[in-house]
Symmetry: C2
Subunit: 446 residues, 2 copies
Amino acid sequence: MSTEWKELVGNLVEDGDNATSDLETVIALKQQDTEEVALLLESLPIEQRLATWRSLDSEERFAVLLQMRADPRERILDDFSKEELDDLLTGLDASELLELADSLSPRLIERALNRMDEQQQQWYLSAQQYNEAQGGHWARHDTLALPQNARVRDALRLLRRRHPEHRDTIFLTDRVGKLAGCVLLSELWAQPEHISLAELVEDSVPVLQAQDAALESALKVQTAKIASLPMVDAQDKLIGCLDITTACELVNEFHEAKLMASAGMDENEDLFGPVRKSAQGRAVWLGINLLTAFAASWFIGLFEATLQQVVALAVLMPVVASMGGISGSQTLTLMIRGLALRQVSSANRNVLLKKELSVGLLNGVIWATVVGIVASLWFSDNAIGLVIGVAILLNIVAAALSGVIIPVVLDKLRIDPALSGSVILTTVTDIVGFVAFLGLGTLFLV
Amino acid sequence: MSTEWKELVGNLVEDGDNATSDLETVIALKQQDTEEVALLLESLPIEQRLATWRSLDSEERFAVLLQMRADPRERILDDFSKEELDDLLTGLDASELLELADSLSPRLIERALNRMDEQQQQWYLSAQQYNEAQGGHWARHDTLALPQNARVRDALRLLRRRHPEHRDTIFLTDRVGKLAGCVLLSELWAQPEHISLAELVEDSVPVLQAQDAALESALKVQTAKIASLPMVDAQDKLIGCLDITTACELVNEFHEAKLMASAGMDENEDLFGPVRKSAQGRAVWLGINLLTAFAASWFIGLFEATLQQVVALAVLMPVVASMGGISGSQTLTLMIRGLALRQVSSANRNVLLKKELSVGLLNGVIWATVVGIVASLWFSDNAIGLVIGVAILLNIVAAALSGVIIPVVLDKLRIDPALSGSVILTTVTDIVGFVAFLGLGTLFLV
C-alpha cells in the first residue's frame, strides 16, 4: 500500500500536466477511496493538483473536494469555471454545504441553498444555529425515528425502505418531537412483529445536548457501544444524531489542530500553498516570539558589565535557559494532556503542583550537580560551577511552577494552552534563567 | 457535566480515605461509564485513588482497571491482595488479558491463561503472534461468521442468538476458513429467508491484513462506512475483525503518544505517579538536551575573545537562536503532520523543500530587516544591525532546510520525528545561529 502510494505520487509529480492522459494513474486513483484521493491531492504541488483533479471522474470529484482541508481545497475552487461551480452548487445537500461553507462566499452559499429542497434547507439552517465548537453544528439529520407507540413491524417497514450508514438505533419521539427512548436494531431480530418498541427501549444510551462542546460529544460517541448517539436541543427535542464517522473526524481534527497550534500554525495550512500565504500565516507567530526574545535580551542587557568581565557566563547562558525550558515543557505537556482529558481541575491542582515541584526539585538537584561539575572543570573555576548549579536548580523549580500555573490560567481565560503555553513558558524560563545566572554571577564572580 | 465532574474530584480529594463511606460519591461514580471512572481514578492522588477504587462495585472494578493507562493502573495493582489478584485473573477473557498483559508478570499471565477456556486461550496466543504495532494484535475474534453457502435464514438464526457490539457485517468463509465475502446486516431486513448470502455480498468492504500497521488499519476502520472491518492473515484466512471502538482507542493513543513524546515523556506517565519514577522518566530527555546545550556552548566558547570586546553580541545572541528555532519548528511540524498522513514522500520532497526554502527566505528577509533596525537603534550601531540581520536570514533559511531534511531522515531510520526531531532541529538552529552571528561579529565588529 505505502509503496504503491509513493509510486502514484511520484508519477503524478513527474508527469505534471499530462496526468489527464495517464491511464494507469487514473485507474489507480479509482481504487482509492475518496478520503485517500483527497489526501493525495493535498500532497501534490498546485499545478499537478489541478491536473490530477481534472482527471477524476465527475461523480467522484465533489466527494473528494468535500474531504479536503480548507486551504488546499481553495486552490482548486479558485480554478473552477462558472459551469463547474454551478454543477457543484446544484448537487449539494445540507451536510455537504456545511463542510464547504468556509470556502464559499455568502453569495454562493445563498445560491446553493436556493437549489436545495425545503427539508435540506431547514437542516442547514438548524445546523447554523450552533457554532462549529458545538455538537449541534455537526448533527446528522437522517436518523431512523418513529413515534413512541410504534411496533416492531413499523420498524421493519422503515428499515426495508432505507438504512443510512452507521444507524444502529431507532429513536422514539413523543407527539411534540421530544426524544422518548432508543431501540437497538440488534434487539429487533428476535422480536415478533406486534411487540411495541417502547418495551424494547435501551436505557443506557447516552443522549447528547446540541449546545454541548462538539469534542466532548464526539468522544462520547467514540466510547459508546453504538454507532450514533441521539442529539436533542434545549427543549429535549430530537434534532438528529452524531455518528461515529463525524465523531472520528472531529476528534482527529482536534488532535491535528493541537499539533499545528503548538507551532503557531493553522491546521488547514496547505503543504503546497502559495509561498506568500504560508509566510504570512507563520509571520504572526514569529513576531510574537521575537517580542519575547527581545524581552529576554533586555534582561541580559542589564548585566552587560558582568558579561564583559566574565565571558564564561555568556558561553554558559544557553545551558541554563535550555534546561529550564525542557523541564518546564515536560510539566506543561502533562498539564495540556490532563486539561484536554478533564483530569486537571481546581480540585487536584494543588496536589499536582506539589508533585511537579518535587519532581523539579529532584531533577533540579541532579542536573545542577552534573552541570556544576562540568562547568567547574571546563573553566577551572569552582565558583562558576556553583553559580550555574544554583541557577539551574532555581530555573528548573521555576519551570515546574510555571508549567502547572500557566496552562491553568490560560485555560481559565479560555485560551488554548497548546497554542500559547510554550511561548509564555520559555519566556519565563529564559528570563528566570538569565537573571538567576547573571545575577548570581554578578554577586559572586565579579 | 464538567462542573459535576469537578465537584466529584473535589469531594474525593478532600475526603481522602473516607471515600468508602461517601455514599453520594459512589452513586455519582455509578452514573459515569467505566471510561469516565478510569479517567477519574487517574485524576486522583494515589491515596484517594486507592480509597475510591475500593469503593467501586466489584463487578465494575475490573472493567475500570482495563480502561486505565498502564502507569496509574500499576499503582492499583501493587495494592492488590492475593485474593483480589486471584479474582481478577479468574474473570479475564483473551482481549482483557491482552490489555492487562503489560502490567502483569509472566507468571500471572500464565495463571490467567490456565483459567481460560480453550478458545479464549487460542485467541490470546493468536494475538501474541503479532506485535502491538500490528493490526493482528488488536483483532476481535467474536465476529459474525458463516460458511459461504449459508442463506438468509442462517444469518437470522445467528443474529437472534448473539450480537456483539459494533458487528454490522456477516463475514462469509470458505471450507478452509478463507474470507469469501461480507454481507451487511442492513441488507438482510428486506430479504426473504431462502436467499443465499453469497448473492448479497458487498464488494466495497476493505479487508485488513493482520501484519499491517495497526494505526493504518485503525484509520481505515474510522473512515469505513461500517463499524468493523474483517481482518485476514497472510494466508487470507479470516482471523477476526478490527472494530471501531478499538480503532478509536488506537488512533487516540497514537495522538496522545505523539504529544507526550514531543516532550520526551511516556504516554502512560501517571499524573500522580511517585516523584522518583516521574523524575527518572524525564531525566533521560533532560540529559540528551543537556548534551546539545553544551554543544552549543562549546561553539559560543570559540568566540570568547569577540564576546569580551562586543558585549552586545552576548545580549542579542538568544534572539538569533530563537528566531531560527521557531521558524524551523513550524516547518518541522508541517512535515510531521505530512509524514503521519503519508503525504510526504521521496516523490514530492524536493518540491516541498523548494517551497519551504522560499517561505524561509521571505520570512527571513522580513524579520532580518525588523531585527536589524531594532538592534541598530538599541546599540546605536548600524554594523551590529547588519550583522544580526544577516545572521537571522541565514539561520531562518538553515531552519527551513533542517525542518524538511531532519524528519525525512529520521523517518527513513524509523525514528519518530515527533520525539527527537525538535531537539535535533534546535541544536542545528542554535549552533548555526550562534556561529553565524558571532562569526560575522568577529569579522565585522572587532
